[in-house]
Amino acid sequence: MLYALMGLGLSLITGVLNIPNFAHGALFAVGAYFLVSLVNFAGNFWLGLLVAPLGVALLGLLIEYAGIRRLYAAGHDYQLLFTFGLALILNELIIVIWGPVGISQLPPAILRGGVDLGFTFYPKYRLFVMLMAGLLVLLTWLFLEKTKYGAIMRAGIENKEMVSLLGIDIHRLFTVAFALGAFLAGIAGALTAPIRGLSPGMGVDMLGIAFVVVALGGLGNLLGAIAAGLLIGVAQAVVAAYWTEASTAVIFAVMALVLLVRPQGMFGIR
């Protein structure tokens, strides 16, 4: 479900803005580190979970406004170089500020321990993350499908010129989409922190996964992102049980296999 969340955020940014966002993984990592700092500073996990993604969204706003906005006319190559540069900067800043060694973060007291589900014993926090991620995906879906601004955003994915001709401020739409995508990445990062701990490399690992989700699910395709997120999540879990070392590589192998059979992705968009 977390993969779906990451893929969804990236899918929004990539779909609406039509840029390859290589900084998406870094935003994810920043979200996690923000959470840790906020928890240490304010001593409240929930506050951290709320504020950290907002901070990332703000960062996204800044990035779009100060940098990416000037690059829409440039080719994908320069956009890629820019976001790749940003990813390097953010990644190194994380090392400078929080150190190169991994940090662990405990879940809040109320979510420690596990629940007996009858057939298996499951950690409470993981259950909470699943619910939260599901809820967020649902909320994003409601926003995109049921609100007017969501409809504009979907229209922006389909045809930017038409949207802009209809008198809608396309630049503001881009900024909002980027901030929203950054928010989703940030909250995914914050939610992940207590499960896997934090390390500066976490962003890059997640970036690859998010790309896989988008490549399989299709740009701006919500159902696709969820289905692809679930597919690789399950594949990873199954393989991890038998052959731990291959659990990351399998994500990309699954993608290669799916594309071999269906080059157009799972839902055949473009």
């Binding site: 990539t14 039509n18 840029i19 390859p20 290589f22 940098g67 000037r70 690059l71 440039a74 080719g75 994908h76 190559d77 320069y78 956009q79 890629l80 170089l81 820019f82 790749f84 540069g85 940003l86 990813a87 390097l88 900067i89 990644n91 190194e92 800043l93 090392i95 400078v96 890059v204 690859g208 790309f211 896989v212 988008v214 490549a215 740009l219 070392e245 291959a246 990351t248 590589a249 990309f252 192998a253 993608m255 290669a256 594309l259 071999l260 080059p263 157009q264 992705g265 473009r270």
Partner: protein, 307 residues
């Protein structure tokens, strides 16, 4: 012709200015850039996974050099073959999609190879890299001497440049450029566009493979970074900063990039941060590469003088 003279002069002068190892690295990186430029500059395909071919070739050839003591030329042949083969596999999946999907796929498959190298520690050494790659003597040439190796690398670079020039000026090169300019039209004229894109991929992969083996022999180690996306990004940066439109762009870019990274890496352990800043500055202010920045600088100076 003038460009060729310039290149020959710089090949001769370079080892006197910087250490031979860095001088060799510059030409190796230039070969790597030539391969990417066939895709990026001539076919209009932005591949963000070039280190897949570079790294795979370095690992396979390095392994054979280390354990089977193969000779240098055989190692180079293996590298070119592995580079081309891995590019064939990756390219086959990637050329079926275009635009942003294409970029993301090259990256994702790069990650696949990266994680295989990362986890397969018995062969690749994982995070520690694969050390102990020899530079065996061949026909009386002692490649352990840095200058001899430098001469070897730069002659291979010249050979690569010559081959690449032949390729881009051949009918194949013209077809690739037609695809870059207008894919639909190239298709309509009757060319099998995916097939040609794949061919460009394989050729680019072969060049990357050659560069990868030379790199492994230069430093005696294949670091894990050699197959990571950072390396893929670096070569894109080098090619763009030199100017992807011309044959010589990647060469200038390779100079600038190796010089930048060498001088920054001694300044600060966190030098990738500075590199990232350099990327951002280049994109925001110097799009079009060194050549354009140079022109802009001169017009700025002459306008000052007029005032």
């Amino acid at each position: 012709m003038r460009a060729l003279v310039l290149i020959l002069i710089s090949i001769c002068l370079l080892p006197f200015i910087v250490r031979p190892a860095i001088a060799s690295e510059i030409w190796i990186f230039a070969i790597f850039g030539l391969g990417l430029n066939l895709l990026l500059g001539y076919t209009g395909l932005l591949s963000f996974g070039q280190s897949t071919f570079f790294g795979s070739a370095a690992y396979v050839a390095g392994w054979l050099l280390k354990h089977y003591a193969i000779n240098v030329f055989f190692a180079l042949g293996v590298g070119v073959g592995v580079g081309a083969l891995s590019a064939l596999l990756v390219g086959y999946l990637c050329v079926q999609r275009s635009g942003l999907y294409f970029i993301m796929l090259t990256f994702a498959l790069n990650q696949l190879f990266y994680f295989i190298a990362y986890q397969w520690t018995t062969v690749t050494g994982g995070e520690d890299g694969m050390p102990g790659i020899p530079r065996p003597e061949f026909l009386g040439l002692n490649f352990k001497d840095p200058l001899v190796y430098y001469a070897f690398v730069s002659s291979l670079f010249l050979l690569s440049l010559y081959l690449m020039r032949r390729i881009v000026e051949s009918p194949l090169g013209k077809i690739l450029q037609a695809i870059r300019e207008n894919e639909l039209r190239a298709e309509a004229v009757g060319y099998n566009v995916p097939r040609f894109k794949l061919l460009a991929f394989v050729i680019g992969g072969a060049f990357s493979g050659l560069a990868g083996v030379l790199y492994a022999m230069l430093f005696g180690i294949v670091p894990l970074e050699a197959i990571s996306f950072v390396f893929s990004g670096n070569v894109v940066f080098a090619t763009l900063i030199g100017g992807s439109g011309s044959l010589y762009g990647p060469i200038i870019g390779s100079f600038v990039f190796i010089w930048l990274s060498e001088s920054m890496s001694v300044m600060w352990a966190r030098w990738p941060l500075l590199l990232g800043v350099a990327f951002v500055i280049v994109v925001l202010f110097f799009r079009g590469g060194v050549v354009e920045a140079w022109n802009r600088f001169w017009s700025w100076r002459s306008s000052k003088r007029a005032a």
